[in-house]
Point group: C2
Chain length 118, copies 2
Amino acid sequence: MTERFGRDLIRGSLDLMVLSVLAGGSQYGYSIQKRIRAASGDRVSLPAGTLYPLLHKLEEDKLIRSRWDNEGGRRRKWYDLTAKGKRKLTEQAKEWTSYAECLGRLLGPVLGGVEARG
Amino acid sequence: MTERFGRDLIRGSLDLMVLSVLAGGSQYGYSIQKRIRAASGDRVSLPAGTLYPLLHKLEEDKLIRSRWDNEGGRRRKWYDLTAKGKRKLTEQAKEWTSYAECLGRLLGPVLGGVEARG
DNA sequence: GCTGGATATATAGTTGACACATATATCGCC
DNA sequence: GGCGATATATGTGTCAACTATATATCCAGC
């Protein structure tokens, strides 16, 4: 059980995942990785080679900002949401929810009674 | 309102959408395109250059089968789910639902009270 | 009977988000 | 002082999906 989600399934919501983790407060790359992993029950595990370039892109787009800090005795790059990032997060979260509902309707008949009484 | 969903959001669920449309019975390419468009309230509109190669791939994978037919006085290529396709559809639908729940939990705090009373 | 738009299918070529492989450096443990 | 976990970085590859283009039929308007 609990296999990994397919790559293409996840694709398109990685930004959203990272931004939503940062909505809870400052995080550094490695901790974001672990949080997403934990929050998904080990089913989403984004590799470092995916995460760090993504963080760089988000920062370039001014959705997050970074600062190097030695908090905890170790040099880490801490990230925070900017105001723009918060707006983006809300927007993307709504879009995703909307898409999920949309696809859910399409799948309704397929899943049969399973979901009907949710 | 009702803008198109981002490309990357949709990515990874196109197979699923096509298969779920075919779960309702025989369809040909163009009708699948229109159905998905309608079912999504014009928010998912897959171009012909995406749909037809996708259908070829699904057929190659034995998830669907095709036959040319002149029903309605016009030559069209009709598609049907195979038994394998039905299994795949169920499996992918469950995976998608599971992923949606997973991401939903992550987004819960972000969306705040908005969804709470949905 | 011709022109244009909707219907209907097909494919070569391009794009870009994400993964893989690899590199670097620090920390704690034995 | 070596090894595994922590921590960040980047060049290259992959492949799903898009763009552009081609072909052919049907029907409405002229």
